[in-house]
């Protein structure tokens, strides 16, 4: 086995192996568990760094293993995979740190971190999957690994949320499987290729390919929470805050959105999908989701639920970008994959901080929280402004490229969709900021768990992760033009997917 084959496997192993060891650790071995968690996270960071350097220098990394005759497990770390892997690995490190602080002293932590590590393994597998078969394998593994995290608290309410989550995701998985096997029967299981591999089938199978597309998109659409398949996401809010952060920013919804990207670009090919008249309907569905999610968010008093509906809306920005035929929209969608991740994870970290520190769960309880927790609220504000697409933030970059993409694709109406969503974002985020910064604090907080000590408004492990990710929101916005920015990487990918491309 060469180094180029071993590296993708090492990326998987760097979270799988610590995870399996953690399962076996006694509950009380906090130090060993933490060390293993961080060792895995940093090791993965280093490995992904090596891969990033290699891929930008034009190297190929991949591994194949035959499972059934003619059916292979294929991993390849290409530019698109690395966009998602880099996002996951960085945010995983922060989420792990945050979770260590968040869960301090609570029961079943070995189990929690074990499944947590399985989750990141599944995410890496999804990112590196080189064909639909491999993608499906890790897509379902992700479902199974997240379920114990969603129901972690073991309360009847958590169980209910978990069961709804399962019903949606397993149902979606079944549709996806039918679509994948159908394509396998039609075209064999080919590797993901730039420009897709189905165009060779031509017009003869147009009808079958259209239905298969519907099945595949419905399958991944469940995790991407595309309306009307989004019902599980607000219910899954019963999970602990680090899990919500993970579900919304990195793992589950992103896996769905990433699936849409792979299916459109590397199975069908953007050109062939456009030829089959699949992209316009997808853009319409994404637009409906964007507006509907934002609209529903307006009416949620529960902070995490409001954020959940916001996720429904924001993830479909990615889908919209993919559906806008042309490289400009593609760049907007791809870069939003990263930008939405860092913004949304910040918001969920902050929501967790309010709940853990002061017992604040509802928007209506937010009065004066900014004075008691200025740093957390600052991070929250930056991410919220990013969601609205305010200048200088990462969100502004995504929105600008998406709007240009809509213009270039001749879908002017999509620009209005984006403006409407930004407006609605402002309507549901600004009142929170107003309450937090400008309203007087109540006489007593709902349930103050962590008292303030000097400048320390909450536990360090809870405070630092959102501050870092909020800073990242600004950096990604301010330095979007640099060669190391997510934007630059998204441009490389779009260039490869669309072949010849002039900026």
């Amino acid at each position: 086995m060469t180094l180029h084959e071993a590296l993708p496997l090492a990326v998987l192993a760097s979270s799988l192996v610590p995870g399996l060891i953690i399962f076996a650790l006694p509950e009380t071995w906090v130090g060993v568990r933490t060390a293993l968690n961080l060792l895995g996270a940093f090791l993965k960071l280093a490995l992904v760094g090596v891969l990033l350097a290699g891929v930008s220098a034009g190297q190929d990394y991949g591994f194949r293993h035959e499972v059934l005759p003619g059916l292979e497990l294929v991993f390849k770390a290409d530019a698109l995979a690395l966009l998602y892997m880099a996002l996951s690995t960085v945010l995983w490190l922060f989420t792990t740190l945050y979770a260590i602080g968040y869960l301090e002293g609570s029961p079943h932590r070995s189990r929690f971190f074990g499944f947590f590590s399985l989750c990141v393994t599944a995410t890496m597998g999804i990112a590196m999957a080189g064909n639909l078969f491999t993608f499906f394998m890790f897509y379902e593994l992700l479902t199974l690994a997240t379920f114990p995290l969603v129901v972690h608290r073991g309360t009847p309410q958590a169980m209910k949320g978990g069961m709804i989550y399962l019903a949606y995701t397993l149902g979606g998985g079944a549709l996806l499987l039918v679509g994948i096997v159908w394509l396998h029967a039609l075209a064999g299981t080919a590797d993901f290729t730039h420009g897709g591999y189905l165009a060779a089938l031509g017009e003869a199978h147009a009808g079958a390919l259209q239905i298969a597309f519907l099945l595949l998109i419905a399958g991944v659409g469940v995790k991407a929470a595309i309306v009307p398949l989004h019902g599980w996401l607000p219910q899954a809010m019963v999970a602990p805050a680090p899990v919500s952060a993970l579900l919304h920013a990195v793992a589950v919804v992103k896996a769905g959105a990433f699936g849409v990207v792979r299916i459109v670009y590397e199975v069908y090919g953007a050109g062939f999908a456009e030829f089959l008249e699949l992209l316009a309907p997808l853009a319409v569905v994404a637009s409906v989701t964007i507006v509907w999610g934002s609209w529903r968010a307006l009416f949620q008093d529960d902070l995490k639920k409001r954020l959940a509906y916001s996720t429904v809306s924001q993830v479909s920005y990615i889908v919209l970008g993919v559906a806008l035929f042309g490289p400009v929209g593609a760049i907007g969608g791809l870069v939003h994959l990263v930008h939405q991740g860092i913004m949304k994870i910040t918001l969920f970290f902050c929501a967790g901080n309010y709940a853990e520190t002061l017992g604040i769960h509802k928007v209506s309880q937010m009065d004066g929280a900014g004075r008691r927790m200025p740093l957390t609220t600052l991070a929250f504000s930056i991410a919220a402004l990013g969601m609205m697409g305010a200048p200088l933030t990462a969100g502004a970059v995504s929105k600008a490229w998406l709007m240009d993409g809509a213009q270039a694709a001749g879908m002017g109406w999509a620009i209005w969709v984006l403006w409407t969503s930004s407006l609605l974002n402002a309507v549901y985020f600004l009142p929170i900021l107003w309450r937090a910064w400008r309203q007087p604090a109540p006489a007593a907080w709902p349930e103050e768990h962590i008292p303030a000590q000097g400048r320390r408004e909450t536990a360090w492990l809870l405070l630092l992760p959102p501050l870092f990710t909020a800073a990242a929101v600004l950096v990604a916005g301010l330095y979007a033009g640099e060669s190391w920015s997510p934007l630059a990487w998204a441009q490389i990918i779009a260039e490869r997917e669309y072949g010849s491309w002039a900026p």
């Binding site: 499972v67 059934l68 079943h108 379902e140 199974l144 114990p148 073991g154 399962l166 397993l170 499987l177």
Partner: protein
């Protein structure tokens, strides 16, 4: 070295008889040693089949038509491997399970059961197959009955009656064939039987088929299975669900592909229809079962249904046979693991309702993990042998443009998810304060886990199994 083939039959008979002489409750270590050797022999045999193709062993030097032939092809080798492997792990499990309980006839009966199974998988004539099937039934009924409670006795009796009736019907079919052709050797019969066969042969085919369906507990002949598998001791349930019902399926499959091939076109649809009904009805009952072992037993009824979906496809694509055997093997491993896990829950909580599982996630994480992994296989989720089986089956169905079959496979997987997660969900709930758990030997937990892990690992290494399966068929 001498041929490993006959030893696979002689060895279990020998240690079974020795265990009987040693007296009740003894002979466990002997059985484990014997099974370990058998597993090695099965591996050697599989290697030989892979290297040199079909092996025929004329017993005592007298081959067919005068004497008896034993024959091993890829299909037999796969079944032999599955049987020895599962039985070895279950024997280790059973030794701890029965520790201190002096199981009356478990070890001798296990020996006879294994001898019968192995003999069945290598037999090459219809009458020999009848004898092994009969031996198998008697050993299995004895195993269900031991334990001696009223529930076990009545379940065993019902099982015995169904099995004996089925055996009688099978024997009648064999007699009709012998009367027509004057031979029972499969190899000799194959070229003789064709679509113009006299009515008696058609009738015989039907009789043999129905008898085997009843023994495999295909819907609507499934009624004896849930009480028998639900009432028996956990290691016995595991053996029955994982291996014994597969034996009659194996036999049906072998006859279908071989001597009965001329008659099978229309009947394939009947079997697939019954299989679909079994999947839906068995899953439905599992979803509503109150006791955990009954849930697992009903799941067996459902999972056996998949084995029969392949019959209409067997003629058109090689994928169908691959799907069937992949399902048989992965279900064998997973169901053994699931019954083993259920037995551990039972021992630990002292109760057998699904509702009494609250808190198990904290107390018995390894066992619950085993149950969950086995569940992954049964649901057909990747990576697992069950997933590959479903993939092959859907692939075969879509290739033949049989959408309803694919739909049944998919909905069966979702229904399985409902009953598997019913258990997992309960296990993740917090334990009530008054609950207390009895300690369970680690060897039992690891045995359950090993079986479950094997069923999942199969999902990453399907190639070797299919290679072995592809080695020439004995007709």
């Amino acid at each position: 070295m001498t041929d490993p083939l006959p030893w696979l039959i002689v060895l279990p008979l020998a240690w079974g008889a020795l265990a009987f002489l040693l007296g009740p409750g003894r002979g466990g270590a002997l059985a484990i040693a014997g099974l370990a050797v058998q597993t090695g022999l099965a591996l050697i045999l599989a290697g030989q089949v892979l290297a040199t193709g079909v092996r025929v062993h004329p017993v005592g030097g007298w081959g067919a038509p005068l004497g008896i032939d034993l024959a091993v092809d890829g299909l037999s080798a796969v079944m032999l491997l599955l049987t020895q492997g599962v039985a070895l792990v279950l024997a280790i499990y059973a030794r701890s399970y029965f520790a201190g309980a002096r199981p009356e006839g478990f070890w001798p009966l296990l020996g006879f059961l294994l001898a019968a199974l192995n003999a069945l998988f290598v037999s090459a004539d219809l009458f020999n197959l009848y004898v092994t099937l009969e031996l198998l039934t008697l050993a299995a009924v004895g195993l269900v009955a031991q334990g001696g409670g009223a529930a076990q006795a009545s379940a065993a009796l019902r099982y015995l009656l169904v099995s004996l009736a089925a055996s009688g019907v099978y024997l009648l079919g064999v007699a009709l064939i012998y009367a027509t052709y004057g031979t029972v050797s499969l190899a000799t019969l194959a070229p003789l039987i064709n679509g113009d066969a006299p009515l008696a042969v058609w009738l015989a085919t039907g009789l043999v088929g129905v008898a085997l369906l009843a023994k495999t507990a295909l819907f609507p002949f499934h009624f004896w299975l849930p009480p028998a598998h639900g009432a028996a001791a956990a290691p016995v349930s595991a053996l029955l669900s994982a291996l014994v019902v597969k034996a009659s399926f194996y036999l049906l499959l072998r006859l279908w592909l071989g001597v009965f091939a001329p008659f099978t076109v229309a009947a394939g649809w009947v079997l697939a229809g019954l299989g679909a009904a079994a999947i839906l009805w068995g899953s439905w009952q599992a979803i509503h079962a109150r006791r955990i072992k009954l849930l697992v037993a009903w799941s067996t009824v459902a999972q056996l249904g998949y084995l029969f979906l392949i019959f209409p496809l067997l003629g058109s694509t090689a994928l169908a046979l691959q799907a069937g055997i992949m399902q048989a093997v992965s279900h064998g491993l997973a169901k053994a693991a699931m019954f083993a896990a259920a037995g551990i829950f039972l021992k630990a909580t002292g109760r057998d309702e699904v509702d009494s599982l609250a808190g198990v996630a904290g107390r018995l994480p390894l066992t619950l993990f085993a149950f969950a992994l086995a569940g992954v296989t049964l649901m057909g989720l990747p990576p697992s042998g069950g997933f590959l089986a479903k993939w092959l089956l859907i692939d075969a169905a879509l290739e033949a443009r049989l959408w309803p079959l694919a739909a049944v496979v998919i909905s069966g997987g979702l229904l399985a998810a409902v009953y598997v997660f019913r258990v997992l969900r309960q296990a993740f709930l917090l334990a009530p304060d008054d609950s207390h758990f009895h300690p369970v030997p680690r060897s039992m937990e690891w045995a359950a886990f090993a079986l479950a892990a094997a069923s999942v690992a199969l999902g990453l290494r399907g190639v070797e199994l299919l290679q072995l399966l592809a080695v020439g068929r004995v007709t």
